[in-house]
């Protein structure tokens, strides 16, 4: 009998290490499981990109019949961030933000450029204009149609009016970078990049029409994974660890968000006082003779420091906080994927139990239970691969974010340093001149 429930797997192995047995499949190793994209599986996933057969990113077809090639396929698929130019066959960029003003609304569009050799695309190059709404549509579609995968995050949809200027250069640039990262991560994903909605997003002249069509034909797909009402006995240790980690991680993100906000607040209040310094020194200089220039110099320095601090607080508000918040939102969607996985496993276990208890039934197991088992195994495989990918991306993202924070602070101090350093010789020169004449 296949093992039900959890195995005693160590929870620490989240990284892309040696493949290990799936909890629910007993002795089967991941190498023995056909990847959902393989030709044999195409019957189970109607309408997915696998219809046309599996192709590696470098264009060679995959032979899934042998164990070796399965594992090598998996290995390659896990290396998406390290893919060099040779193996990539799909390049996407988001550039050239432009403001559109109409009577109803004002919004920004971005140019999305695609270069590809994939045969799924009719042309080798595309250039379309998309707005945030369209990216949001794409992400929703990907979540619906690829429920076993972790879909990369988008920058926050809503921004507080009055706090952030939605049309300022800085805000638009920050958003453009985030949207660019989003598309690149989808493009680098071995499964998501073949998604037809993604294709439509990149290539369709008029996305709105496609949105309607897509909605009609893809309704059935998402239903498949909406299994309701089955209770999972226990989440396998591996996935339980993921869930725990996400909870703790969310906590830490929340704390960091609060700290960052507090710092911005304190800095803004300090800035208010700093702004008063300059004028006081200036008014002092107005009734001094010898001290006029030094005091004016100090006043100027204070103004420079004020501007530098203003830039720092703005940058932190516009670049730092939004990224933190995106991650918190993203984690919510990841937790949902985990829950869906639990549901799929629960359905399988329940159905299996029902079969086992009927003594007159002997293996082979009925086909619908088999299908459930496959579904579980695919989900687990997808999720684990995507989890590793997520860990990597997370590391990159936070390295970039925190290094950026350090850079902004360094730049702030460098600006102030330059201001004060240029003042000192000015003050001391006068002094030496005084000394000579006295």
């Amino acid at each position: 009998a296949a093992a039900l429930g959890t195995t005693d797997e160590p929870t620490s192995a989240m990284s892309a290490g040696a493949p290990r047995s799936l909890a629910s499949s007993g002795q089967k190793s991941i190498q023995d499981i056909c990847h959902p994209l393989s030709a044999e599986e195409s019957a189970l996933n109607p309408g997915s990109a696998a219809d046309t057969g599996l192709i590696l990113p470098n264009g060679t077809p995959v032979d899934t019949s042998s164990l070796a090639s399965s594992s090598s396929l998996l290995n390659r698929l896990q290396l998406d961030d390290d893919l060099d130019g040779e193996t990539r066959d799909l390049f996407v960029t988001v550039e050239d933000p432009k403001k559109h003003v109409s009577t109803m609304e004002t919004y920004i569009t971005y140019r999305v450029c695609t270069k590809t050799t994939r045969t799924e695309f009719d042309l080798p190059e595309y250039s379309v204009r998309r707005r945030y709404q369209d990216f949001d549509w794409l992400r929703n579609k990907l979540e619906e149609s690829q429920p076993t995968h972790l879909i990369p995050p988008l920058p926050e949809k809503f921004v507080m009016k009055g706090v952030v200027d939605r049309f300022s250069e800085e805000f638009v640039e920050t958003r453009r970078k985030a949207l660019d990262k989003f598309l690149k991560r989808v493009a680098d994903h071995p499964v998501l990049s073949f998604n037809e909605h993604f294709n439509a997003f990149l290539s369709a002249k008029d996305l709105n029409k496609r949105q309607g069509l897509a909605l009609l034909t893809k309704m059935g797909e998402s239903v498949k994974y909406v299994t309701g009402g089955y209770k999972l006995r226990a989440r396998p240790a591996e996935f339980a660890a993921m869930g725990d980690y996400l909870d703790l991680f969310t906590q830490k993100m929340g704390t960091i968000d609060r700290i960052a906000q507090r710092i911005i607040k304190e800095q803004s209040e300090f800035l208010m006082e700093l702004r008063e310094y300059g004028p006081v020194y200036s008014s002092w200089s107005s009734f001094e003779e010898d001290l006029h220039d030094p005091l004016e110099g100090v006043s100027g320095c204070m103004s420079n420091c004020s501007s530098a601090l203003e830039e720092l607080t703005e940058d932190m508000s516009e670049d730092f906080l939004p990224v933190l918040r995106e991650y918190v939102l993203y984690i919510e969607s990841m937790k949902n994927v985990l829950k869906k996985r639990d549901q799929v496993q629960a359905e399988y276990e329940t159905k299996l139990e029902a079969v086992v208890f009927r003594e007159d039934k002997k293996p082979p197991v009925p086909s619908d239970v088999e299908k459930c088992q496959d579904r579980v195994e695919c989900f687990n495989a997808d999720l684990k691969a995507d989890w590793d990918r997520w860990e990597n991306n997370k590391r990159q993202d936070f390295r970039q974010l925190l290094t950026g924070m350090a850079d902004k602070n360094i730049q702030h101090y460098e600006k102030c340093l330059a201001a004060w350093e240029s003042l000192v010789p000015l003050l001391q020169d006068k002094q030496e001149a005084e000394g000579e004449t006295s």
Binding site: L248, V280, F287, L291, A406, Y413, E421, L427, Q431
Partner: protein
Amino acid sequence: KQDASPPPRVPCKPMPTKNNLLDSRQTKEKRSFCMVEKGTSLLKKMEISVAEAEKRTGKNAVNMQETYTVYLIETRPVDAASEGTNPVPDSLWRRYSEFELLRNYLLVTYPFLVVPPLPEKRAEFVWHKLSADNMDPDFVERRRVGLENFLLRVASHPDLSSDKIFYSFLTEENGWKETVFETGFQAKADSRLKALNATFRVKNPDKRFAEMKHYGDELQSVISQLLRVRARAADRLYGVYKVHGNYGRVFSEWSAIEKEMGDGLQSAGHHMDAYAASVDDILEEEEHYADQLKEYLFYADALRAVCRKHELTQYELEMAAQDLTSKKQQREELATGTIRTFSLKGVTSKLFGQETPEQREAKLKMLETQIEEGEELVKERNAECEEFVKSAWVDIERFKEQKDHDLREALISYAIMQISMCKKGIQVWNNAKECFSKM
């Protein structure tokens, strides 16, 4: 009286220069902040310092127990120090109220001089961390430095340095108070206070003094403003730095649930802690700058007092002159029998009849005496006025130069302090950046 050219200036204590301010953390070391003229005869003879502070308890004037602080004044002959023998200095203990007494004596005795101010009686312009309590060790320490500075200022003043009471303040522990009171300055002190607070209109003040008084007012106002802004800014800056310490804690907690990222986060957290801690030194340095500003805030008051005294002497001269003129007129009227000016006497004599020739003679004689005395008085007061204007203006010019020099120095060291703060900030964030990049 002083020479026309100011004597060469030599720093009497090692002053933090551009180079060593960045290296040395002389937070607890004695630092006076004036460039002192070694030219006075007093400083040629002796070195003066306020070396220590101690708490004492005792019975006060109303026989109640009180705790107070005393300061150790050390004096040492200059020759001995340079010979390298380094003998034990002479020393005595004084409390703040005795310094006040000394200063009041000097104010009364030398009204034409800009008398150096004492450090503040109570902590003003404080930001939240700094205690407003007079017994707080930081406040006592800053007061010690301020008192030393006061003594050095007086000792380096061409006129004040030769004052006997000042000398005995430095050298005679017992009986000094009695000596001061024996001078009878107290009586003059009361009338001086009255005069300074009185309102009167001067017809012809010396323009320069009027301008100086106005300058003193403006200086007081602007420095007060500056100190208030500084106190609020210090409070805010403290908050900014300290909150970064929270990053240290959260990075540490976060690193516990990470694998590859853990080390980088943990070490970056330590740098955030260091950043948060660095604000204490920064604000202590700034306190020093604030003290330098405060000295000139109080100096502005002393300057205004001198200008006010000029007004008073001028006013008294004008009053005497006015009185003389009116007496002379009365004499004229009496002599010629004509009444030019309206006077009650004139009216009553018209109403009730003229006086007898004998009465007139007596009156005339009295007036003559009064006029003689009046002329003497005017001469006296005129001389006083001229003397005052001359001496006061010399000292005001001396003060102007000192102020320009000291405040420029203060601005330079403030700039240097800011530079040091920026460099430290860059270093910490670079360290953190390195840790982040290793994540």
